[in-house]
């Protein structure tokens, strides 16, 4: 078989999903620093506080671009993975998933959709 085996596909798609979700965790924890400063007794006019707030804002901007939005590398990898299955499996992506009883996680499904491979709801794991 030239196509990737179903066990590895599921493992990789889950890892990609989780890695992308971590972007939100990175962002929210840095955002929490800003919230703590906001709620602190340190005066908002304090220049050292203001400097730190500016650095936090700049870092959040970077995190947003590199971890929240789907980066070129992320989209490229998912596109290549789906193209690989599409070409080497005798059927569509959705048939590959359903025939192998694979349910991908929602964020992976969303990236796949963005790169042109829409995944049926039946092949997406619901997160309780």
């Amino acid at each position: 078989m030239a196509v990737i085996d179903s066990v590895t596909y599921k493992e990789i798609s889950d890892l990609i999903n989780n890695a992308q979700v971590r972007g939100n965790d990175i962002y929210s924890n840095i955002e929490q620093m800003d919230t703590d400063l906001e709620d602190s007794e340190i005066l908002s006019t304090n220049i050292h506080r203001q400097f730190l707030e500016n650095v936090i804002a700049e870092t959040l901007g970077v995190i947003n671009l590199r971890h929240i939005v789907y980066t070129d590398q992320m989209r490229d990898f998912v596109r290549r993975l789906q193209i690989h299955v599409d070409i080497n499996y005798s059927g569509t992506i959705n048939e590959y998933l359903s025939n192998n009883s694979i349910q991908v996680l929602p964020i992976f499904a969303d990236i796949s959709d963005v790169v042109g491979f829409s995944i049926d709801a039946a092949n997406i794991e619901s997160i309780s």
């Binding site: 196509v3 965790d25 990175i26 962002y27 924890n29 007794e41 650095v55 700049e58």
Partner: protein, 616 residues
């Protein structure tokens, strides 16, 4: 936001068939613009065990005795408690209202005898829905985190007070005094405080400390003039000689006085409390020289006192009382927060709906984060962000390795995916992590040096290590790896795998209890495999937030329910000799299940599940 208590949440109880008592209820209701009518008299009246009751709007008449202290609990239940409770539960006028407070009016019994004790009717009626439990602890007492009285609190206890006097004219004057305060709003007289007494023993020392704590830490926030007794000798009860232009008195012992104690005052007299053993024994007796009657007949709007010995631990606590009053609480709710025991001897007298403001008083917002605590929290948040970044790199590396390990036909899959998988990993590896977070980590580490530059000297400049050592803080190695150079001393770095789990204590019981906690840690949400299980009864490495940002070690008594909303912490333990290793894997997210239990009954409450990442 929870609804604050209003006059609509109150009922007034009077003695049925007593014209003066009926007159009192109408007078009080009129002053507060309360509802006194009913559309359906037949379904809002009845008889219970031969005692008639009738509800008209917010007034409740009960056919009780006019004896001030009844001979037994049975008599009190039959004549007072049961008819009121029945009316609350069955009269449509009352079942349609949220009743949070009860005023026991003129000539309604004020207590009952139980052995050598006289149980105050207000302390019993507050727990009207619960069975009698003599000297039962008050769950609302001295709560560590302040909140206004609300519907949840009403499930625990109702606000209850007495308005009674030797004659109807006098009780009407009490109501008029309360009206004056509500119109004037501002308390403007002197606060008289007497922290010292001639009582000996550890309980007396404890109560003196309570009053001194109030005097030293909260009293000045009221922004009133203060007159205080000074310590002379442990065997001398230094007393307040008289009061003049006074608004508050808080003292203890010297249990009898005369009208001359109260000199003329233009200031509004708000609340008087003298902690003694029988200051409220009778309030209908003009010649008893006891404090509750004396103070209220000298224009104090409210007072409190004991009908018989409440023991020193049963005395009111000024700290929760004034913390509540300062934040706009009524005297009724403030009293309830300062009362240690229900079904006991201490009672509240006067109009519980009154409240007052303090001139230019500033209320400290408890939600504001102290500046050093803020830095420590930011350090933890940044370490968590870094741990997620670290784990993201590991996940993408795992993904890459899975592709490397594929053995597909003609290496088709490997060829198709390897380069893009590698690109994805490289874009999130350690170097990238460092470059994206370096500026923020450096700025956070440099903040104490810039902010507290004057802490240092030219010979010994203040830096991040001085700061961490001085405050007892440590930082994650994940952050020190990112910083410009190895600027953090190894002694200020947390061990890899060390963790500290923090959660808020939940309100699981209607009654006052002492909690202990079970903390279980698992790698999976179903807790099929429990990696660690820790019981706070073992005490070690468990702390709780006794005051804001101040953590103290657990004791075998656990944590009282008055600390609901405060934080509890468990810190991982590593002890090679004892073969204890709680450390967990860096960057892994774990599930933490917390079960609170009552140490007396062993009852376990519904667990709460959290997740957290190991950031060290």
């Amino acid at each position: 936001m929870a609804m604050a208590i209003t006059k609509n949440n109150f009922i007034i109880v009077y003695r049925l068939g007593d014209l003066d008592s009926t007159d009192f209820a109408a007078y009080y209701a009129d002053k507060h613009d309360m509802d006194v009518t009913t559309d359906d008299p037949s379904s809002n009246s009845g008889s219970l065990s031969g005692v008639d009751w009738i509800v008209s709007g917010q007034t409740v008449g009960i056919q009780c005795s006019n004896v001030e202290i009844l001979g037994s609990e049975d008599l009190f239940n039959t004549q007072v408690l049961n008819p009121i409770k029945y009316a609350l539960e069955n009269a449509p006028e009352l079942t349609n209202r949220n009743i949070w407070g009860i005023v026991l009016g003129y000539n309604v019994p004020g207590g009952f005898i139980d052995g050598s004790d006289i149980i105050s009717s207000t302390a019993r009626i507050s727990r009207i829905y619960q069975a009698y439990g003599k000297k039962g602890k008050n769950k609302l007492y001295n709560r560590s985190i302040y909140k206004r009285f609300d519907s949840d609190d009403a499930d625990t206890a109702l606000i209850c007070s007495r308005l009674d006097a030797p004659n109807i004219q006098q009780v009407k004057e009490y109501i008029d005094n309360a009206e004056s305060l509500n119109k004037q709003v501002f308390a403007n007289g002197t606060f008289y405080i007497d922290p010292y007494s001639d009582r000996a023993g550890s309980l007396a020392d404890d109560y003196e400390d309570v009053i001194l704590d109030f005097k030293n830490n909260l009293l000045s926030d009221l922004n009133l003039d203060i007159w205080s007794t000074t310590f002379m000798d442990p065997y001398i009860d230094v007393a307040i000689p008289y009061v003049n232009q006074d608004s508050f008195v808080w003292s203890w012992f010297t249990d009898r006085a005369y009208n001359t104690f109260f000199q003329n005052s233009n200031a509004i007299r708000v609340f008087f409390y003298n902690a003694d053993y029988d200051g409220a024994y009778e309030v209908r007796n003009e010649s008893s020289h006891r404090w509750v009657y004396l103070s209220m007949s000298n224009e104090y709007v409210c007072s409190a006192g004991a009908m018989s010995n409440p023991t020193i631990e049963g005395f009111l606590n000024p700290n929760p009382f004034f913390r509540s009053l300062l934040r706009g609480g009524t005297i009724g709710e403030s009293y309830l927060f300062s009362l240690p025991f229900f079904d006991w001897t201490v009672g509240l007298f006067g109009d519980p709906l009154t409240y007052c403001s303090f001139p230019s008083a500033e209320v400290k917002d408890e939600d504001i984060i102290e500046e050093h605590e803020c830095w420590n929290k930011m350090s933890k948040s940044l370490a968590k962000a870094t741990a997620h970044f670290h784990r993201k790199g590991e996940e993408l590396n795992e993904s890459l390795l899975k592709i490397v390990d594929l053995q597909s036909e003609n290496y088709k899959a490997e060829v198709d995916l390897l380069y893009s998988a590698n690109d994805l990993f490289v874009g999130n590896d350690t170097d990238i992590r460092k470059s994206q977070l370096k500026s923020l980590v450096d700025s956070l580490f440099d903040y104490p040096r810039k902010q507290y530059i004057y802490y240092g000297t030219p010979e010994s400049p203040f830096d991040i290590n001085s700061y961490l050592t001085q405050k007892g803080f440590k930082v994650s190695e994940l952050l020190t790896e990112i910083s410009s150079e190895a600027i953090i001393d190894p002694s200020n770095v947390l061990d890899e795998g060390w963790w500290q789990f923090e959660f808020l204590m939940q309100d699981d019981s209607v009654d006052f209890i002492n909690y202990q906690f079970i903390l279980e840690v698992s790698a999976t949400s179903d807790f099929s495999t429990i990696l660690l299980s820790k019981n706070s009864y073992q005490i070690r490495n468990w702390t709780y937030e006794k005051e804001k940002d101040t953590f103290v070690l657990f004791t075998y008594n656990g944590v009282p329910s008055s600390y609901v909303g405060r934080r509890v912490r468990y810190e991982s333990r590593y002890d090679e000799l004892a073969s204890i290793d709680d450390y967990l894997t860096r960057g892994e997210t774990y599930y933490f299940r917390v079960t609170q239990y009552d140490i007396q009954s062993g009852t376990e409450y519904t667990p709460t599940i959290y997740t957290d990442i190991i950031y060290t």
